[in-house]
């Protein structure tokens, strides 16, 4: 038997050709990335341009459907001159505050309830029917109830946001607890963990990816809850801004408020994603992201 080994020459040639192939592949990737961004920008410009032109030439009635320049003017005047109900930043602040409070309370409540019911079969069996019923009530309708009960102030909006968030987070936390790997729980038990240690060191971490997934969706829900609450009756906030604009047939105002809300949601979504990546750094990267 003889062992076959490549000669030094071969190795050098091979290394050089690998380096060339790699640099080509990298150039291709860069090129593709630039192309994707360029196409995205192009689509945005064409879309806004057609909208603006259509409005100018009255193909699209700007009275009903607004126009990009009108929306921009509206946002600008809100920024510089303030809105009819006070400075713009105050409206944003009020809505964000309601959203955050509702989100935090709803999420913590949902997580706690999900873990307790997920860990206790009997409680889960008893309460599951009521949760199903509560979940099937169209929750936005509760907004009216809250405004009657809690008044036009912040409390009613927070309550609506809480209700919007709670069930989504609860359902995910519950599922996450149930999916916790039984071998892993048994392992912790035999290594010496108490029931409380099992909950904190096995159940919660393994439910965490489920919970985080629900937090993404439910922040949007909290925002909807706060805005709808304001819509139904408020003294401040983005929802009120929309309903005022609607009352004055100001389409530009409705679109402008919508865009501001979208930007708020995107910024928070970005922050949540950061937080999530920090929390689940133990997770393997999905295959398509590896090495990118």
């Amino acid at each position: 038997m003889t062992a076959i080994s490549p000669t030094a020459d071969h190795a050098a040639v091979r290394d050089a050709s690998i380096a060339i192939a790699e640099s080509r592949a990298r150039a291709r990737l860069r090129h593709r990335h630039a192309m994707v961004i360029g196409l995205r920008l192009a689509i945005l410009i064409v879309f806004l341009g057609l909208w603006e032109l259509g409005a100018d030439y009255n193909f699209i009635d700007p009275f009903f459907f607004a126009s990009p320049s009108g929306i921009w003017q509206q946002i600008w005047s809100w920024i510089t001159e303030g809105t009819s109900q006070g400075p713009l930043w105050l409206q944003i602040y009020v809505t964000l505050e309601e959203t955050f409070l509702g989100f935090v309370i709803g999420a913590l409540g949902g997580i706690a309830a999900g873990i307790i019911l997920g860990r206790n079969r009997l409680l889960a069996d008893v309460f599951s029917i009521y949760i199903k019923i509560a979940n099937s009530v169209p929750r936005v309708v509760l907004g009216s109830v809250f405004i009657i009960a809690l008044g036009l102030g912040m409390a009613s909006k927070v309550a609506l946001a809480v209700v919007m968030v709670f069930f989504v987070v609860f359902a995910n936390a519950f599922q996450g607890v149930r999916e916790a790997d039984r071998a892993m729980i048994a392992n912790a038990q035999i290594l010496g963990a108490s029931p409380f240690q099992i909950t904190t060191s096995v159940i919660i971490p393994s439910a965490m990816s489920w919970i985080l997934a629900s937090l993404h969706v439910s922040f949007g829900f909290a925002l909807v809850g706060a805005v709808v609450g304001e819509f139904l009756g408020a003294k401040q906030g983005m929802g009120l801004l929309i309903s005022t604009a609607q009352g004055a047939f100001n389409a530009n105002g409705v679109f402008a408020a919508m865009i501001i809300l979208a930007v708020m949601a995107l910024v928070v979504e970005f922050i949540i994603t950061r937080f999530e990546n920090y929390l689940v750094k133990w997770r393997p990267a999905p295959f398509n992201e590896q090495g990118a």
Partner: protein, 284 residues
């Protein structure tokens, strides 16, 4: 029953003595299936493991091997009969027990060192001491450079080593292992078996090692239990008198080893065939 003059001595089953490390005495265990029927997993099961003894359990799939180990941990309770560990009836999960699972049971959100330190930390060891011992054990299983890695960044063989360190760090007097090496390739498995025997002879623990690989059982064990197809009971017990220390890479070429394996295989084969035909009939 015939007596074997050679290394594989067939033992007769008697009621377990009081001083055994593990004593399973005439145990039957029935599960209640989800549709409310009773299903017998093991029946009239008797097994004794002396202090410091290495016992292997072989049997066809689904015959109740994992169930037997769970009885010893206290995760399952016998329907009839008694299980004693270190002379005491099993009432709760004992601190003397270590368990290496059939499935991967590491905590994926903990790094290697946090995984290994888990046992001492759960048991209230101060943090500094727990991590010091964890570092020591990681070194012993040859993963010193991988302390900070997460399980998904390790190979299957490395993860099994972490599982061994995680179990051994508690210095269990009773070591239960459920097909721990069945997912590994030949070379890694041989190396791990050597490691296991080394750790075992250091710790002087009593071991129950479940495997479907008869050669593995003969190579490792003092005593091999052959189970019948499900519902499982002990078909026969063999004492393996191969000299120790044993070297796994060489022992499989030892003529005595081959002879023993052949004898036990003749015994096991019927049960495996029976188990297979039953699986085909009932679909589980």
């Amino acid at each position: 029953m015939q007596l074997q003059p050679m290394a594989a001595e067939r033992l007769s089953q008697a009621a377990p003595p009081a001083n055994a490390a593990i004593a399973i005495d005439d145990v039957t265990l029935r599960f209640v299936t989800p549709d409310g029927h009773m299903m017998t997993a093991i029946r009239d099961f008797t097994m004794t493991v002396a202090h410091g003894e290495f016992a292997c359990v072989v049997g066809p799939t689904g015959c109740g091997k994992s169930t037997t180990l769970n009885l010893v941990t206290g995760l399952l309770r016998p329907t009839t009969g008694a299980v004693r560990v270190m002379g005491n009836p099993v009432t709760d999960i004992s601190r003397d027990i270590g368990f290496v699972f059939q499935a991967d049971a590491l905590f994926p959100w903990r790094s290697v060192i946090d995984n290994v330190a888990a046992g001492p930390l759960y048991r209230g060891t101060p943090k500094a001491e727990a991590y010091e011992r964890a570092r020591d054990w990681i070194g012993r299983v040859g993963l010193g450079r991988f302390e900070k890695h997460y399980p998904h960044q390790l190979s299957g063989g490395m993860r099994k080593r972490v599982a061994l360190a995680q179990t051994f760090i508690n210095q269990p007097k009773i070591l239960l292992m459920d097909e721990p090496f069945s997912a590994l390739d030949m070379q890694t498995r041989t190396a791990m078996q050597d490691e296991l025997l080394g750790l075992w002879s250091e710790q002087k623990s009593s071991v129950v090692f479940v495997t479907h690989d008869l050669e593995e059982a003969v190579a490792l064990a003092d005593k091999v239990y052959v189970l019948t197809a499900g519902p499982g009971t002990v078909k026969s017990v063999y004492r393996i008198d191969l000299p120790r220390p044993r070297v796994m890479a060489d022992i499989r070429y030892d003529p005595k080893f081959v002879e023993i394996a052949k004898v036990i295989w003749n015994d096991l084969r019927e049960e495996v065939q029976l188990g297979q035909s039953r699986t085909l009939q009932t679909g589980h």
